[in-house]
């Protein structure tokens, strides 16, 4: 048992090997390899249309892959049976780009939905935990009875994060969490992700275009290009890289503005 724990700590939480994904004749991911370590915040960047969201959706099983293997929490998702898979799904949370809140449920019902399905918890505890989650993502308890259509864009992202966190996952996927937020809101969100990672011991897989997020929130950065990871490392490694796209990305006008 101790050995098992040991291996869980040492092994990467996500291990992606030789992933190939193809839509029609266009090959989006081509033999891609990626490791995400336990407890880190991995920022995932790349040009628009490079397949960042596709990789995320492939890992969580929404896009079928042509070849390769994906291990999450040490479980190979292709050879796992339903209960193993269910177990893995219980331990991750996903924040979709548009929030993907259930539009006919209130905020409270949205957050309680996974709890209701997976846990046997009293209604009182669920209500209290809902408020706790809302507080954690920086929302007032009063929004609990609103419907998603009555929320602003930033609030939708926060509620979606609260829902992604509702089962206390070990791993969260964030697909462009700060897009469409004002700079202050985006900054708060980065701070929030950092805090949650510290308090809950989360591992975060974050697809982002936001340079601020990369600088302030991420431990490590992976860059996607031509269907492969072209670079992975700290922000300093990225700045030192000679790859033309990276040079443009990290030394462009906006990057200089961020670095001040």
């Amino acid at each position: 048992m101790a050995k098992e724990i040991q291996s869980e700590i040492q092994n990467p939480i996500i291990r992606v090997r030789d992933i190939t994904v193809q839509f029609g004749a266009t090959r989006v991911l081509d033999g891609l390899n990626l490791d995400v370590k336990r407890g880190e915040i991995l920022g995932f960047v790349g040009p628009s249309g490079a397949g960042k969201s596709v990789l995320t959706r492939t890992i969580i099983g929404l896009v079928p892959k042509l070849a390769g293997s994906i291990e999450v929490f040490g479980v190979d998702l292709d050879s796992s049976n339903t209960s193993q898979r269910r177990n893995v799904e219980r331990r991750w949370g996903v924040l979709f780009q548009q929030g993907a809140l259930f539009s006919s449920l209130t905020v409270r019902q949205n957050i309680q939905f996974p709890m209701r399905e997976y846990l046997r918890v009293s209604q009182r505890l669920m209500d209290e935990i809902t408020i706790a989650k809302l507080t954690m993502v920086g929302l007032k308890p009063e929004v609990a009875d609103r419907f998603p259509s009555e929320l602003s864009g930033g609030m939708i992202k926060r509620v979606a994060l609260a829902r992604a966190l509702s089962l206390d996952p070990d791993l969260v996927f964030l697909d462009e969490p700060t897009s469409g937020l004002d700079p202050i809101g985006a900054g708060d969100f980065d701070e929030l992700v950092r805090t949650l990672q510290r308090t809950l011991g989360l591992t975060v897989f974050m697809v982002t275009h936001d340079l601020d997020s990369l600088y302030t929130a991420c431990d490590r950065i992976a860059v996607l290009g031509n269907g492969k990871i072209i670079a992975a490392g700290s922000i300093a490694d990225m700045q030192a890289s000679q790859h033309p796209w990276l040079k443009q990305y990290f030394h462009g006008k906006r990057a200089r503005a961020v670095m001040g």
Partner: protein
């Protein structure tokens, strides 16, 4: 890795010490909640209260909140319960949970008699609103049509043709098939019952009058309400949900002119065509059954049909079609534009578009029946 959580009392004279051990996570929540509820009863008369969490193997938000709940309920007056032995990596989680305001928000969805009465009242008042909405839309469509007549260049021909294809051309197979079958059934039933009186041939009269005056157009209108009315509502509704209609408006376009008018026009043109095809298919089906099942030769059928019906019957039927199309279209567009932000609302409005569409089609048919009876057609 997971061990059953425990909460034990350690007697310490005037102090109450509770020692939490094991895994305090969501999967053990029912057990944890019961233990915490039991421990809450222990409070009273102590000088100091400690909750020792140094032996907790694993903690998540659920566990942290339950410890916080216990701490809050044990704290009475001046004696504040303390959490002791918190490891560094969990302390920030407990701090986070401590900021939570305790009183849960009350769920407002309780059912009361006054609430039910209120709903009935609102529903009744809503009927007037529905009628007003339909009249409003009729006016808006007519106004947009008039504007288009004055400025013919603003007429959206491509869109209209596209909707004609969807509503008319693609509906032909199903409309023809269903009316053909209905024609067969009417003829078969007619022959079966008329035969007892030796009045086989009168089935042709019945078929001709029924199909041309009523069944043809009514059946087709109901099918179109189900097929195209629902599609219109769903299209406009999802455009409304994604703010596409607002986008049109900000660009200076009138959504009625751009979206509703072509759809209405397509429907008003399509329904007479479909009603005509449907009536022909029904007559054909009836004739076929009369021949094969009733032994009425096609020549005899045609001769009888020529005597039985006049052009009046056909006109009575076909004149109703564009009016019914307009009713279906207006109901569908009003419902589509009334969709709110949720998927549920889209479903509700699509349902009510079809239900109201069919209801109004039948009401219109009744009104027409009275009218034609009055003018003697």
């Amino acid at each position: 890795m997971n061990s059953d959580p425990k909460l034990e009392r350690i007697a310490k004279g005037n102090a109450l010490a509770l020692c939490a051990t094991g895994t305090w996570t969501a999967s053990f929540a029912p057990v944890l909640e019961r233990m915490v509820a039991d421990a809450e009863k222990l409070a009273g008369g102590q000088q100091s209260i400690f909750i020792d969490v140094s032996e907790v193997a694993k903690l998540d938000t659920f566990g942290a909140w339950l410890i916080e709940r216990l701490r809050r309920s044990l704290t009475q007056g001046a004696v504040e319960a303390q959490i002791a032995g918190l490891s560094a990596n969990y302390s920030s989680l407990v701090d986070e949970v401590r900021r939570v305001r305790a009183n849960p928000v009350i769920d407002g969805s309780t059912i009361t008699i006054t609430g039910m009465l209120e709903q009935i009242g609102r529903a009744v008042a809503g009927v007037a609103g529905t009628v007003a909405g339909l009249v409003d839309m009729l006016g808006a469509v007519l106004a947009a049509g008039a504007r288009t007549l004055i400025h013919p260049r603003s007429f959206r021909l491509t869109s209209t043709v596209h909707h004609m294809e969807q509503v008319c051309w693609r509906a032909v197979p199903i409309v023809v098939l269903i009316t053909f079958l209905i024609g067969c059934i009417i003829a078969q039933q007619g022959i079966f019952h008329f035969r007892r009186f030796g009045a086989d041939l009168f089935v042709v009269d019945m078929l001709g009058v029924l199909v041309l005056r009523e069944i043809g157009v009514l059946l087709v209108a109901i099918m179109v309400a189900g097929r195209s009315g629902s599609a219109y509502t769903a299209e406009l509704g999802s455009m409304k949900m994604r703010e596409e209609i607002d986008a049109l408006r900000t660009m200076g376009f009138d959504p009625i002119e751009v979206l509703v008018l072509p759809r209405m026009l397509a429907l008003v043109l399509a329904l007479p065509i479909l009603a005509f095809l449907g009536a022909m298919a029904a007559l054909y089906g009836g004739g076929l059954v009369a021949w094969l099942y009733g032994g009425v030769q096609p020549e005899a059928f045609l001769l009888r049909l020529r005597d039985a019906i006049s052009i009046d019957h056909f006109i009575v039927g076909i004149v109703k079609a564009p009016v019914m199309a307009a009713v279906i279209g207006i109901v569908a567009c009003v419902e589509g534009l009334a969709v709110q932000g949720s998927a549920e609302s889209l479903g509700q409005h699509t349902t009510s578009s079809v239900v109201k569409g069919i209801f109004f089609v039948i009401v219109m048919d009744g009104v027409f029946a009275i009218f034609f009876a009055a003018i003697g057609m």
